[in-house]
């Protein structure tokens, strides 16, 4: 598939895809474009902060509350994890029962002698990949 990028301040900004079939690449591009402009409201004290999905590194459940972490802050979200999964689309991967990570911010993967797989993010955070999610994480990373 060819990519044509035109930088022009006078045109209506859009992404058009021409494809013979609706492939996973097409769906990934669509999800990426849709999620690019999506924001989720984050709550910090009395402040409500619109968080662009791409700025969120990790979304996790702690003491039955959902939080989003960015490069240096943590916000409370008033949405359920499954609702965020639907909004965020392909950009997030569910790594365990209580956490999603943004694919764009994954720094590396690691394993321990305890057998646990972990994912390290570029903001320094780390979380475990559950055994149940390992296969799904591999698929989402494009490994068959």
């Amino acid at each position: 598939m060819n990519v044509i990028t035109t930088i022009d301040k006078d045109v209506y900004e859009r992404v058009e895809i021409y494809s013979h079939e609706n492939t996973s690449l097409v769906r990934q591009i669509e999800d990426l474009v849709y999620s690019y402009g999506i924001s989720i409201n984050g709550y910090s004290g009395n402040d409500i902060v619109p968080l662009p999905v791409k700025s969120i590194y990790r979304i996790y459940v702690e003491a039955n509350k959902v939080y989003a972490s960015t490069i240096d802050s943590k916000y409370h979200l008033k949405l359920r994890l499954y609702q965020i999964e639907e909004i965020a689309g392909e950009s997030f991967i569910k790594i365990n029962q209580s956490a999603l990570v943004n694919k764009e911010h994954i720094k590396s993967f690691a394993y321990s002698w305890g057998g646990a797989l972990t994912v390290k993010l570029t903001n320094g955070e780390e979380d475990y990949i559950s055994r149940r999610q390992t296969k799904i994480v591999m698929e989402r990373m494009g490994i068959k």
């Binding site: 993967f109 394993y111 002698w113 055994r131 994480v137 591999m138």
Partner: protein
């Protein structure tokens, strides 16, 4: 009741009945291959009860590997401990191994070694998965 405890009981009760069936099958095979094989009533009773408990624990404890907040090592150690006591208790009660400390020691060593090999395989799989994921990450970036 905790969901995992419920799962333990549910799995245990679902598969517990297979213990006496397998024990019965083994005794039948022994009977076919040995002319003077016989069991007293109390021995049959102990075999049924102990193998029922063994199958219950074996099936129920499989839930340990699904407790997400436990590390795989913790889950494996608790699983190992559980099934070790279930197996060794059943073997000793039915006189499948004699009540001698040397024999129990060998049995324990073999049990742990087998589990250790399985554990090593799990770690090697984790290592391989990590390598694949990191290579993909490097390739995509």
């Amino acid at each position: 009741m905790n969901d995992y405890v419920k799962q333990f009981l549910l799995r245990g009760l679902t598969f517990a009945g297979f213990g006496p069936i397998i024990a019965g099958f083994i005794y039948w095979m022994i009977d076919l291959s040995s002319a003077d094989f016989s069991l007293a009533g109390w021995q049959v009773f102990i075999a049924i009860i102990s193998t029922y408990i063994l199958a219950f624990v074996q099936a129920g404890s499989s839930v340990f590997h699904q407790v997400e907040h436990w590390s795989p090592l913790k889950a494996a150690l608790l699983h190992l401990t559980c099934i070790y006591f279930a197996y060794s208790g059943t073997y000793l009660m039915n006189s499948w191994i004699p009540f001698k400390w040397e024999v129990i020691l060998i049995f324990t060593a073999l049990f742990i070694a087998t589990y250790g090999v399985i554990w090593l395989i799990i770690v090697l799989i984790s290592k391989s998965v990590t390598k694949k994921l990191n290579n993909k990450l490097i390739k995509d970036n």
